[in-house]
């Protein structure tokens, strides 16, 4: 702005003290900026520590693979000479290096950890390292060589070239392996290829997670919109009462709610009993409404509905009734007035609610685990499994990173199609 005026004159505009006006202005604003920064510093730090750093850590873990190099440094170097495609077992120098590395690893108890890591790539390496560790403990490095036969005597798996291929393939510090695994691919001697069909699961789960989250978001819109409309148009007292009912799910424990759904929806449950009693459903053909995708959608719609209703409600509250009246006075029927005038103005609420519900939905795992059976579980269930049961945090991180990327892509697409300015939380 100041530029245009400055160009007309010869030289910059000066303040009263002779300094350029821009400089004076910047100085005057600096104090303000610093104060503003100081005010938000605690939050900034908090977000950094609790949000940015963990996400960065997760992204790092999804490619990090230093354990092989750190545990078997000499072996990794010795293996560089070895041709992994020859189909033969390495020679004595590699085994000697392995013995030296293992000796240290056993003392530090890191060999079993490496075994667990490599077992993700090849069955049996876990016990190979555990077993070999016990043997190596008793060896004397200086006098007990050569080691090739001694290792093979400990466990004949050491004579399997496949083990060495696995060690060599995983010796770089960073690996695309977790990400490949997360999209049902793997590295093979012929390059990157799809995993065998009987191991493909993650792509299916990603697709299912996205599809079902969209369906949950959709049913939240369908169910939440009329309720939000009623809320926004009721007198304050009644609206508050209804709002309490809407918020009730927030105040009930997740497990209680989920159990309630089971009681209602299972084949010997209340709804089926009622339908059989009325005669709508034959006793032998009771409806399957839980432990499948339907169950997940019903239960999660219920849980996430408030996240749709609240932004919708707060947006609808800001739409004056006059717009509808104006539309009708201009000749629009009730439906046209709603659809052409009211609805477009409530879209920001739908946008905000959908983003909230969708993002929450794709991250849910307890509810799908409990009511989803086999067809209603999400990718998050596998992430939880790898975090807490298999301890394959690298794979969990890769799955999480892909999920994060999917959310960001959808967010970007939403911004492009609808415009993120069109999102209002109230």
């Amino acid at each position: 702005m100041t530029d245009t005026t400055a160009h007309d004159n010869s030289g910059p505009v000066l303040a009263a003290d002779g300094k350029p006006l821009k400089v004076s202005l910047a100085r005057a604003l600096r104090r303000q900026k610093i104060r503003a920064l100081l005010l938000i510093a605690p939050l900034l730090l908090f977000v950094l520590i609790t949000f940015i750093v963990p996400i960065g850590d997760m992204l790092f873990r999804s490619v990090e693979n230093q354990i092989v190099q750190e545990t078997l440094p000499k072996t990794v170097v010795a293996l560089q000479e070895w041709d992994s495609e020859a189909g033969t077992v390495p020679e004595e120098p590699v085994f000697a290096a392995l013995a030296a590395d293992m000796k240290i690893a056993v003392a530090e108890k890191t060999h079993t950890r490496l075994g667990t890591r490599l077992n993700y790539e090849m069955n049996g390496i876990s016990s190979l390292f555990r077993k070999s560790g016990r043997g190596v403990k008793k060896w004397d490095l200086a006098n007990d060589g050569p080691f090739k036969d001694k290792f093979i005597a400990l466990d004949k798996k050491w004579a399997d070239p496949e083990v060495w291929v696995t060690i060599k393939a995983n010796s770089p510090k960073y690996t695309p392996g977790y990400f490949l695994n997360a999209v049902d691919m793997q590295v093979s001697p012929d390059g990157i290829e799809a995993r065998p069909e009987n191991q493909q699961i993650y792509v299916t789960l990603f697709k299912r997670t996205l599809m079902m989250s969209l369906m949950i978001t959709g049913s939240c819109i369908l169910l939440g919109y009329p309720i939000a409309w009623i809320l926004a148009n009721l007198p304050m007292r009644q609206a508050n009462l209804l709002m309490i009912l809407v918020l009730l799910p927030f105040w009930t424990s997740l497990l209680v709610r989920t159990s309630a759904w089971k009681v209602l929806l299972q084949q010997q449950g209340v709804i089926n009993d009622l339908l059989v009693w009325i005669g709508l459903v034959d006793d032998a053909n009771r409806l399957v409404m839980i432990n499948n995708a339907t169950g997940t959608i019903i239960a999660m719609t219920h849980i996430l509905l408030p996240f749709m209703i609240l932004p919708l409600y707060s947006v609808m509250q800001t739409i004056p009734e006059t717009y509808l009246r104006a539309a009708k006075s201009l000749g629009a029927t009730n439906w046209t007035a709603f659809w052409r005038v009211y609805f477009p103005q409530s879209i920001p609420g739908i946008g905000a609610g959908s983003i909230l519900v969708f993002i929450l939905a794709i991250g849910y795992y307890i509810t799908p685990e409990l009511v989803g059976g086999t067809k209603g579980v999400f990718i998050s269930n596998r992430i939880a499994f790898h975090i807490s049961t298999s301890l394959n945090w690298g794979l969990a991180a890769a799955l999480g990173a892909i999920l994060l990327a999917a959310v960001l892509i959808l967010y970007y697409a939403y911004d492009k199609i609808v415009g993120i300015d069109n999102v209002k939380l109230g």
Partner: protein
């Protein structure tokens, strides 16, 4: 922008909830982690209360065992282990030991010998499946069925293979949503001898055979992930037959009087016990070791069986198992280890599963999702 910030703030808040509850260890306190429910109650009665009375040390009972493996790893990475002793299944103990997250123990010095002088190593015997694992109880994954839904003129189901017999026993079944035991049962009931089960499962063909057997009942099977689920389904009549932990079944049958019967054949034994987290300070370690020495002696393990139907992991405790503390019934027949209950049994093959779990789990989940 507004939205992004709101989302960020919400997430950040949610995450601190986990950070809270930091270390507040007092000099005479111990945090012992277990499974909660009836199982924790039995430990409190049999171990914690007498120990607190004896020593004056306060024991805080934490119920996080279901997520103990991940939490221990996270604590260890953060360099702040707040737990003193953790109750885990043997498979998890092996994993924790491999990861260096659990302390290796020496039975000779860390565990009490039997009253007759037998060394702890001999008294526990095969139960010492890992260098870090302190065995406590034997439980089994076995079967319960609805007694009122057995077809007329047919014998009640006796075990695992009846699950695969849809003709004789129609109705829904429930199985655990993971490959362990299910794969073994599929092969055993498809005519594979137990001795060959694991070598068979190591081959692609063997795995295909197991999945093919499971395919025959897939449409009629519900899969559970929380151990309370199969019991609830049995109680509601949602399924006819379900695999479940024997202690849960005992409680439903004996304590809650549900029309459920036990089918023990081919039950799979599992071990549950303690691990000491690696990296405890010396004073804490000494205190925990003292507790472990006390809580795993012959009498204490036998005492626990008064409150729950899990078998003590020490041979010397078995003869001391008496009656249920509240119901007064004889507990020995309800123990999974009672020989007359089952013709065939097997013990969870921890070492084999440690090698094959990752692979088979992926395949099992892929099979389930199909």
């Amino acid at each position: 922008m507004k939205l992004t910030k709101t989302l960020l703030a919400t997430t950040a808040l949610a995450m601190t909830a986990g950070v809270a509850g930091a270390d507040g260890h007092m000099a005479d306190e111990m945090t012992i982690v277990s499974w909660g429910g009836a199982y924790s109650a039995s430990q409190i009665k049999a171990y914690h209360e007498p120990y607190m009375e004896k020593t004056g040390i306060k024991i805080i009972n934490d119920e996080s065992s279901s997520e103990a493996v991940a939490k221990l790893r996270a604590m260890s990475e953060a360099g702040n282990v707040t737990w003193d002793l953790v109750d885990v299944e043997a498979a998890d103990a092996i994993r924790l030991c491999d990861e260096g997250l659990a302390l290796e123990i020496d039975p000779a010095t860390d565990l009490a010998p039997a009253p007759d002088g037998t060394s702890a190593a001999d008294d526990f015997g095969d139960m010492l499946v890992s260098d870090c694992f302190i065995p406590q109880i034997v439980f089994s994954t076995t079967f319960g069925y609805r007694t009122d839904q057995v077809p007329e003129g047919v014998d009640a189901p006796s075990g695992a293979c009846d699950v695969f017999d849809l003709e004789t026993y129609p109705g829904k079944r429930a199985l655990n949503k993971n490959p362990i035991a299910n794969m073994e049962w599929a092969l055993l009931c498809d005519g594979v001898a137990y001795e060959e089960v694991y070598t068979t499962l190591e081959t692609e063909e063997g795995q295909a055979q197991a999945f093919a057997k499971l395919d025959t009942i897939k449409a009629d099977t519900l899969w559970w992930s929380a151990s309370a689920e199969p019991i609830q389904w049995l109680a509601d009549g949602e399924v006819f037959m379900a695999s479940a932990y024997n202690g849960r079944l005992f409680s439903a049958i004996v304590e809650k009087d549900q029309p459920i019967g036990m089918a023990w054949n081919w039950q799979m034994f599992d071990l549950d016990g303690w691990v000491i987290p690696a990296g405890l300070a010396d004073d804490r370690l000494a205190r925990v070791k003292d507790y472990v020495m006390y809580a795993t002696d012959t009498q204490r393990l036998a005492d626990q069986a008064k409150y729950i139907s899990y078998g003590p992991a020490r041979a010397s405790s078995a003869p001391l198992v008496s009656t249920h503390a509240d119901l007064g019934i004889e507990m020995a027949p309800h123990m999974p280890t009672e020989p007359s209950n089952a013709e065939n049994t097997f013990v969870n093959n921890y070492m084999w599963w440690a090698d094959y779990r990752d692979d088979l789990d992926a395949k099992f989940q892929a099979w389930l999702a199909k």
